[in-house]
């Protein structure tokens, strides 16, 4: 048997829910662990090593000093995988990009705000090259397992690039727009098997924008269905918040 690739998990600003999803694989994780050696994963083990081939990185970059640490990880890792919405698209942390800095600083840190550094939240790819994305908030553990198996077979996993609508059709879901609801599935990257809609909710957009998303069309559709610009904006900012504005405030 070939040498097992060494794998490490890291996290930046995020809830560590994606690593929890990995831990949630339970018995399946044990089968996968037969093929890899986990050298660092603080959610399930205490040891740590800087000798690794594959780095799974969760969380978004929200402080200047995060960049240095991420660049070190990039340096050490042969393959860097962005794990979850915060890492792939900046995630929910980007909500702060739309709020005045002094306001969110004092909201979060109160009177100690000046002790902490912070800047506009951004995905890993804004700082270092990323080899593979595992989308979602949280990630789908099955998709994680698939992606790891692809890596072990020498392939890079490519998530679907079409909108969630396609997966809703495969799941036999009734379109949320037909039910008069606002749904971001029309512009969101699929790969989640339309799980939120299937379970009765609507698409929140956690996998980020589909590469070919037609936002002009989406705007018209939302308007035609009676949603205001504010309705759409509130929904879109939740996950689609990492825009150019984050880096060019003003």
């Amino acid at each position: 048997m070939a040498v097992k690739p060494k794998v490490a998990f890291f996290d930046f600003a995020g809830c560590e829910g994606d690593q929890l999803q990995v831990a949630n694989l339970e018995e399946r994780l044990l089968d996968i662990l037969a093929h890899i050696e986990v050298v660092s994963f603080r959610e399930i083990k205490t040891e740590h090593s800087d000798d690794y081939d594959i780095a799974f990185v969760e969380g978004s970059i929200t402080r200047p000093e995060d960049e240095k640490r991420l660049k070190e990880i990039r340096e050490n890792a042969g393959i860097l995988v962005a794990l979850g919405a915060c890492a792939t698209i900046g995630g929910i942390n980007c909500l702060k990009n739309f709020i005045n800095e002094s306001e969110y600083r004092s909201t979060v840190y109160g009177s100690s705000a000046r002790w902490y550094s912070t800047y506009a939240s951004r995905p890993l790819s804004a700082v270092v090259p990323v080899d593979m994305d595992i989308h979602g908030c949280p990630i789908d553990k099955n998709e994680f397992a698939t992606a790891v198996k692809e890596l072990l077979l020498g392939k890079i996993y490519t998530p679907p690039d079409y909108p969630v609508c396609a997966e809703c059709k495969m799941a036999g879901n009734i379109c949320r727009y037909e039910q008069g609801q606002l749904c971001l599935g029309i512009v969101t990257r699929a790969g989640c098997k339309a799980c939120c809609v299937t379970e009765g909710s609507f698409c929140w957009g956690c996998r980020g924008m589909a590469p070919e998303a037609n936002l002009d069309a989406a705007a018209r559709i939302m308007e035609d269905h009676g949603f205001t610009r504010l309705n759409a904006q509130d929904r879109l900012r939740l996950y689609f918040g990492c825009t150019d504005r984050a880096f060019n405030p003003g």
Binding site: L153, Y162, Y177
Partner: protein, 349 residues
């Protein structure tokens, strides 16, 4: 024409008998204005007056995701996975039967699709005269208001409590005779069914094309190079593939491999795909034959209006109206596209 009369109260007994050897699916109301074929159970309320099943019935012959091959990575062996589930679809409208007939031809051309064929061969189809026409439907305009084959039995509700059942196959007749005291239909009852069909067809005609469908292929051919038209139509296309996936005659799929967690065994599966999706026509090296939404949009209508016609002599559209409903941008509408193109050509002449 062999025909029988079945009374409403005889149907539960028949369904019981059929369900012992078949997975029985019937139209049911899933929520207000939405109907789906769902497994029949004792308490299932059959929506005899449904207008359209939300999902296409191709799900029964080529499910959204289906295993094709199981393979072993260590000894390099592979074996086909072929499902032969015995199913009964009870209450299928003529346009959907026409779509299945079309799939039968296309999936059997240039080599049989064994996965499709095995499910199809094990499926019994009981047709049903539509009591209502969906708002978005135009099947009367594309020669899909009536089918002469493709069903084992065809049911027409001739009174609130009685159905006239035409026989389409020996198997259908055999299944009908599993019921106790099923009587043959009289000439008057056959006439009643004929009138009901005419009435349904007349209702549907009001939502037809407004011209004969046989002209469509020629129109499409003439309009192929009108980029301005196609660009304008596809401006709000989301490239989401919804129109493809709900289409009862679209059959394209993608094939992928997946291994188990031990990396010892794996399976090759196919999953629905559609020509409106950007990645559909992308090939090795990243090249894409149809990189723009308008090219994909045009391609889909060329398929429906011409290419399928060139192969089998009928339109690739049965007028069910599912795509019209499914398209959130409201640009998928074969009736509108065919009519607009006809109008434009007429004005140029």
């Amino acid at each position: 024409m062999v025909a029988y009369i079945v009374y409403l109260q005889q149907i539960p007994e028949l369904l019981h008998k059929w369900s012992s050897s078949y997975d029985v699916y019937v139209p049911t109301r899933v929520e207000e204005h939405f109907y789906e074929f769902r497994p029949w159970q004792e308490k299932t309320h059959i929506a005899w007056d449904y207008d359209l099943a939300y999902s296409p019935l191709k799900v029964f012959f080529m499910p959204p995701r289906e295993d094709l091959i199981h393979f072993d990575l260590h000894n390099y062996t592979a074996s086909p996975v072929i499902k032969k589930t015995r199913q009964l679809l009870f209450g299928v409208h003529p346009y959907d039967i026409k779509a299945i007939n079309q799939l039968d031809q296309l999936m059997g051309m240039d080599g049989v699709d064994v996965n499709y064929q095995n499910l199809r061969d094990n499926t019994v189809i009981f047709g049903l005269e539509p009591a209502r026409v969906a708002e978005t439907a135009f099947w009367a305009g594309v020669d899909a208001a009536r089918v002469d084959f493709g069903f084992d039995l065809f049911w027409t509700r001739i009174s609130p409590g009685a159905f006239l059942v035409r026989v389409g196959s020996a198997q259908g007749e055999e299944m009908l005779k599993m019921g106790s005291s099923i009587t043959s239909a009289t000439a008057a009852e056959k006439e009643a069914a004929r009138r009901i069909h005419l009435r349904a067809a007349a209702r549907a005609d009001k939502q037809g094309l407004g011209f004969t469908w046989t002209q469509v292929p020629e129109f499409m051919n003439k309009f192929y190079s009108r980029k301005l038209y196609w660009r304008e139509k596809a401006k709000t296309c989301l490239s989401c593939g919804s129109c493809n996936l709900v289409c009862p005659t679209c059959y394209c799929f993608d094939i992928q491999d997946e291994t188990d967690d031990h990396l010892k065994q794996g399976k090759r599966y196919r999953q629905w795909d559609g020509c409106m999706l950007e990645g559909f026509s992308r090939i090795a090296g990243g090249l894409n034959f149809r990189p723009n939404p308008w090219e994909r949009y045009r391609h889909r209508y060329m398929r429906k209006g011409k290419y399928i016609f060139d192969r089998i002599g009928e339109l690739g559209c049965v007028g069910c109206g599912r795509c019209v409903k499914a398209c959130t941008a409201k640009i998928a509408n074969p009736k509108v596209v065919f009519s607009e193109i006809r109008e434009a050509i007429k004005n140029e002449a």
